[in-house]
């Protein structure tokens, strides 16, 4: 049961083959059994989940025709979505004692659709990282091979879904934090267009880049979840006031005639088994009638340096709110107010977060602003213009999601620059604010490989259509780690 897709479980509930209470109990037992090994959850909300499941079963029995679309299905939230009355730590010592006083809009919307939260998942501290090794609560392990990282920053969500501890989870993607762990854990993960999913109640890292989205096994599941999560929110000033379509509506459309661009700058880095795996996946799309076209994104190599100026700059500003005064960690016996700020922040933040705050503070400081911050905003424009030009010629763009499959725990942790290179194929999309997804495309030495699909603004439906058609003709997304059975 635990490796079934959300769509299959939805049908099983509808046919009364299983109750929501049975489903939730089953997944909670799985979490109890496997979480000590994987460290995917920070908080498990078992008691409230069972109560909600009971209510869902009652509601379904009483009025099955009017049941919310995802009634009684279990899920998990990344621990940076605020959950009223439940710890929301962002995997940081700074927020280890923080019980959120309100729900994020995403949390409310998921609940309104009938989804039941089983808990909050581990992540890189404040979503800063590509391996989930930057958590105050320790690293998350990859269910496919526990010597390897699950990717980051939404590594707990990805590991939980891949290991069959929940059938779906939320994540956030500032530079690849949904797509990269989805690729490394063999899942389908979607980063929507900036503004499509509300950021209200999502703890901010880099506000012009952050975007929430879903993880699940298949594109079909992701479409169901996006239906639940997407929509205009008055409480988020950057929320797009555009009607939400039914993302499941076009899944079965033929992709014959679609033009899919392959950026030469991305594929020139790919070789060996990775190249072979991706070529096989692209052949499937070609067989389905899509035309593959070589395209150019001439400023692709600027994505990493541009991102690592802008994201730290925004992070240094956003994280200035953690001052040890109103909430969060406060140091012991501060001598004076300045000492309170200095030591609360010095002791409360982890290494990577401090490093990024320092870089951000530096590039925004007088004398360096124009050379770094303003210059990076200009190169961001060049990166966006590359995509604008590309989407005049093609319907979607395909690329590797990551340069390699998952790497070993500890392998890159002492070398931030090498770690940052892991995001080479995912960052540009966030800088432009475009939607993208990663879907399973094969395995190398038993570790999953992801294919990334990128779309023009608000073209989530098209990406899900391509991914679903691919998944109707492949079974990579149906594989699961046998050690987690």
């Amino acid at each position: 049961m635990h490796f079934k897709s959300l769509t299959e479980l939805k049908l099983a509930l509808h046919k009364k083959e299983v109750s929501s209470h049975e489903l939730v109990s089953h997944y909670l037992k799985r979490i109890e059994r496997f979480n000590p090994q994987l460290n995917a959850f920070i908080t498990v909300t078992g008691e409230s989940a069972l109560q909600e499941a009971q209510k869902a079963d009652t509601l379904r029995a009483r009025d099955p025709e009017n049941a919310p679309p995802l009634l009684g299905l279990p899920m998990a939230h990344k621990d940076l979505f605020c959950t009223d009355g439940v710890k929301t730590s962002c995997a940081s010592k700074m927020l280890d004692n923080f019980i959120a006083p309100y729900d994020a809009t995403v949390v409310t919307k998921c609940r309104d659709t009938g989804l039941i939260t089983l808990g909050k998942t581990n992540m890189d501290e404040f979503a800063m990282g590509s391996s989930n090794e930057n958590s105050f609560y320790g690293p998350v392990l990859n269910p496919w091979n526990t010597d390897y990282v699950p990717g980051g920053s939404s590594g707990g969500s990805a590991a939980a879904v891949a290991a069959g501890l929940v059938p779906a989870a939320t994540g956030t993607d500032t530079g690849g934090s949904i797509r990269q762990p989805a690729a490394l854990c063999g899942l389908t993960g979607l980063k929507p267009t900036y503004g499509r999913v509300s950021r209200y109640g999502m703890v901010a890292f880099a506000s012009s880049l952050d975007q929430g989205g879903p993880f699940a096994k298949s594109a079909e599941d992701v479409a169901l979840l996006l239906n639940a999560m997407a929509g205009f929110d008055e409480r988020d000033s950057t929320s797009l006031n555009v009607p939400v379509e039914d993302y499941t509506q076009h899944l079965n459309r033929s992709i014959a005639g679609l033009k899919i661009g392959l950026p030469k700058e991305y594929f020139s880095h790919v070789s060996g088994p990775m190249q072979k795996t991706l070529e096989e996946a692209l052949k499937v799309l070609e067989k389905l009638g899509a035309t593959l076209v070589e395209i150019s994104l001439p400023h692709a190599d600027l994505a990493i340096p541009t991102y690592y100026v802008l994201a730290p700059a925004e992070c240094s500003s956003n994280l200035s709110r953690y001052d040890g005064v109103r909430y969060g960690y406060r140091c012991e016996n501060p001598r004076d107010l300045n000492d309170l700020y200095l030591r609360s922040r010095g002791e409360g933040f982890g290494t990577e977060v401090k490093r990024r705050i320092l870089i951000g503070t530096y590039v925004l400081s007088a004398g360096y602003y124009d050379a770094y911050y303003l210059q990076a905003q200009k190169t961001r424009q060049l990166i966006k213009q590359d995509f604008d030009e590309a989407f005049k010629k093609v319907d979607a763009i395909a690329s590797p999601t990551t340069p390699t499959p998952a790497f070993k725990i500890g392998e890159k942790v002492s070398d931030p620059v090498t770690m940052y290179q892991c995001d080479i194929y995912t960052l540009a999309l966030n800088l432009a604010g475009l939607p993208g997804l990663s879907m399973p495309a094969g395995f190398i030495n038993g570790l999953p490989v992801g294919l990334q699909l990128m779309g023009h603004y608000m073209q989530e439906s098209k990406l899900l259509n391509i991914a679903h058609q691919y998944q109707c003709h492949s079974d990579w997304h149906q594989q699961h780690p046998t050690a987690m059975e």
Binding site: F98, P101, Y194, G195, S208, E234, T238, L240, N241, D301, L302, P305, Y308, V309, S320, D323, G324, V325, R326, Y327, G328, Y329, R330, P334, R335, D336, L337, L340, Y341, L342, R343, R345, G346, E347, F349, T351, K354, R355, I357, L358, I359, T361, Y362, S365, Y372, Q375, Q377, K378, T379, R380, Q381, L382, K384, D415, P416, V417, Y420, L431, A432, G433
Partner: protein
């Protein structure tokens, strides 16, 4: 570019982050490496390019100037590390 350890120390103070000498040394070394990466941007000709601060070029939405939130200060202040009555407590600032 060369980034002195003194500059990193000043920046840490500006960001109000206390760091031990060992931490500062490690951080200095890593930040220098990261700036080698970032410095690639300096070679790019961006003359005439409009800076892009945000993926949405459109103007920010405005809202009516009216109170929409209820008073929840007790709930919010329950999270405070130190408080007295309705105030957040911090070390004395004014003698």
């Amino acid at each position: 570019m060369t980034l002195s350890i003194k500059k990193v120390q000043e920046t840490a103070y500006l960001a109000r982050i206390a760091m031990s000498d060992a931490e500062l040394n490690r951080c200095h070394h890593e930040i220098e490496q990261i700036f080698t990466l970032i410095d690639q941007l300096q070679a790019v000709d961006t003359k005439g390019i409009t800076p892009l601060a945000h993926p949405q070029a459109s103007q920010q939405r405005t809202v009516a100037d009216k109170v929409t939130e209820s008073d929840q200060h007790e709930k919010f202040q329950a999270l405070a590390p130190a408080k007295q009555l309705d105030y957040y407590l911090v070390p004395q600032v004014i003698e």
